[in-house]
């Protein structure tokens, strides 16, 4: 077990290094002056020359690669072309905003989705089952910018229930996480983006939960539980749902990977000051240090979440054989 986790962890690190390498290659392939991605062309020539040295841009490419890697590890991610702020300090603020929104969305998705899945399997082929399937599939087919826009148009523009975006009222920036989480305004503003994220992802856990519930319900130990005369509610929750959850955990990693992508759209739509919005802004303004840093941060987020779900899965399913070959 520990062996497995350690090996997975090493793979995780290798993946992060690989993604960073791909990023390095991509940004060096950029047409034009090779210094363009780190040094703003608007800067003073003397400063540009000094920065060239600092980033090793007059060295051969393999040496540049090592300098790049060293800078990544020592958190020297450069400065924004636009605001001249340190990329790491911008990211450390944006990171938590993304995590807050993602966590809210995922909680809603998993709780509602799993609950709906159980009910749909229980009342299989009933009205809830059919409506749940069709509505779930339609939600899944609607990209978050469509559902988000629709929610904005109805609940915000027309009815005025919710603000159109942002994490706090303009000019009312809270100091610190605690301050933020204790204002009612924040929770109010969280509703629409969370709903948007939730609607997009709900069908995955819902349909998977339903299918694995049905699979579990056909197995022998459920028959046994029935024969023992246990109440059907007890069988559903205690016996069936617990085992069916495994199926949801398996896809949770992949789902979270996609959720990071969805985050980009939702944050841009609701002007949520997270990493997704930063990604779009910096890419549109050709603010390369920020774009590069944000992409790397998002990738690290996806990769570590994948690692966590892997570990969680191996912990939840004792049957899993962890051999030298790995999970496969």
């Amino acid at each position: 077990m520990l062996d497995y986790i350690i090996r997975r962890f090493v793979y995780t690190l290798i993946t992060i290094v690989a993604v960073a390498t791909i990023l390095f290659i991509l940004f060096r392939m950029l047409p034009g002056e090779p210094t363009m991605q780190v040094i703003s062309p608007a800067m003073d020539p003397a400063v540009q020359e000094r920065m060239k040295k600092a980033f090793g841009l007059n060295e051969p490419i393999w040496k540049q690669y090592f300098i790049y890697m060293k800078n990544l590890i020592t958190l020297e991610w450069g400065r924004s072309f636009v605001s001249a702020q340190e990329v790491t300090s911008i990211l450390s603020y944006r990171f938590w905003n993304t995590i807050l929104l993602m966590a809210a969305g995922m909680c809603m998705t998993l709780v509602l989705g799993i609950g709906m899945g159980i009910i749909m399997a229980w009342r299989r082929n009933g009205a809830v089952d059919l409506i749940g399937t069709v509505v779930g599939l339609i939600f899944q087919a609607a990209p978050p910018f469509i559902t988000g826009l629709l929610l904005l148009m109805i609940l915000s523009y027309n009815m005025g229930f919710f603000p159109t975006g942002g994490m706090y009222a303009p000019g009312n920036r809270p100091d610190g996480l605690f301050d933020l989480l204790t204002t009612a305004d924040f929770w109010h503003r969280l509703v629409l983006p969370t709903l948007t994220v939730g609607m997009y992802y709900i069908s995955t856990p819902m349909l998977i939960m339903r299918d694995s519930m049905l699979e579990v319900l056909g197995s022998d130990y459920i028959e046994l539980a029935r024969a023992k005369g246990l109440k059907s509610r007890v069988i559903m929750i205690r016996h069936a749902a617990r085992n069916a959850l495994l199926g949801v955990v398996t896809i949770a990693g992949i789902m979270i990977g996609f959720a990071v992508g969805g985050q980009v759209v939702v944050e841009s739509l609701f002007s949520w000051p997270g990493m997704g919005q930063l990604m779009v802004e910096s890419a549109a303004q050709h603010d390369y240090p920020v774009a590069q840093g944000t992409f790397l941060m998002l990738a690290i987020l996806v990769i570590s979440l994948n690692f966590l779900t892997d570990v969680l899965y191996s912990y939840l399913d004792p049957r899993i054989k962890i051999t030298a070959k790995g999970l496969s």
Binding site: P143, I146, M153, L214, I254, V264, V265, A291, L301, V302
Partner: protein, 299 residues
């Protein structure tokens, strides 16, 4: 001799078509999806002949007034934008872009995914290890951000959008097909073909490939659907090809114009098209899912 072979091929093809017909007609939803896809395909093919206006033509109504922000009417069935562009024409021409991106990236990605999966699953060992590590690395790439970075670096052209989608999207099909190929490899007839001295390539493409075909079709449909959603999302964020109209791009223009509060029709038609097409693909693929995974059929 050759003519009888041709007729045999023809019969095979007819049998295969009948099989697909049966699968698609097996339930109402996939039937609905099938006809929607056919309709969109026809619109995409004949787009320039159906569209009444140029997508970027400032239109005037029959009284000669500039037609800006008109709600749907007989003259402008889907309404117009603030610059007087006819949304009906934009929608029709955008169908072409969307379908082109979907089909091309769906097709290329399934070809890559199938080959990687089959080769990794069949050979196993080192080859499998290397290919699957590459797939793992791709799973670490956040999809939409990757596309945004690629387009920001290399330009907002259709080719780069397709390339960016293809580079990432094959990962899922490769994993699934590898698993299937690994289980088929164990079957007796493969062992027999090997004993008869069939080459590896022959075994992979003549014996294993036909058995993963339903799965391939299923993932081809998924890949097309994902490509369409991804392209629409990228376009909505302003990273689409500026030279062509697309459904996501139409919504981006709406967002940019700031007319979201008034022009509901501008929002409605591209959104309905995206949802309709993607849902149809999902409905059809679910029918194939039952073939690929017979355990589902009983439910």
């Amino acid at each position: 001799m050759s003519s009888s072979r041709t007729s045999q091929r023809f019969r095979k093809l007819r049998l295969a078509l009948r099989e697909h017909y049966r699968i698609i007609n097996s339930n109402k939803l996939s039937q609905f999806g099938f006809w929607v896809i056919i309709l969109f395909t026809l619109v995409a093919i004949f787009a320039p002949w159906i569209a009444p206006h140029d997508p970027w033509e400032m239109t005037y109504d029959s009284n000669g007034n500039f037609a800006s922000l008109r709600p749907p009417s007989w003259e402008f069935p889907m309404g117009t934008t603030h610059l007087g562009y006819d949304l009906f024409s934009q929608l029709i021409l955008a169908t072409r872009t969307t379908l082109l991106i979907g089909v091309v990236s769906g097709f290329i990605s399934i070809v890559i995914g199938a080959n990687v999966g089959l080769i990794a699953g069949y050979y196993g060992g080192k080859i499998d290890e290397v290919l699957m590590r590459i797939t793992d690395i791709l799973y670490g790439m956040p999809f939409l951000p990757f596309i945004i970075v690629l387009i920001a670096l290399f330009g907002r052209q259709l080719e780069f959008i397709i390339l960016a989608i293809v580079l990432i999207i094959w990962r899922t099909s490769a994993r699934v097909i590898r698993a299937q190929a690994m289980s088929i490899k164990q079957r007796q007839y493969i062992q027999m073909a090997k004993a008869r001295g069939a080459s590896d390539l022959r075994i992979i493409y003549r014996h294993i490939l036909p058995n993963v075909l339903p799965l391939l079709l299923l993932y081809a449909a998924f890949n097309i659907a994902w490509s369409i959603i991804t392209e629409a999302s990228a376009s909505f964020l302003g990273f689409g090809d500026g030279e062509t109209v697309s459904w996501g791009g139409m919504l981006y223009e709406l967002w940019l114009s700031g007319k979201t509060r008034v022009a509901w029709w501008w929002f409605a038609s591209p959104s309905v098209c995206i949802i309709l097409l993607v849902t149809s693909l999902v409905f059809v693929s679910r029918a194939y899912e039952e073939v690929a995974n017979p355990r589902l059929r009983k439910r």
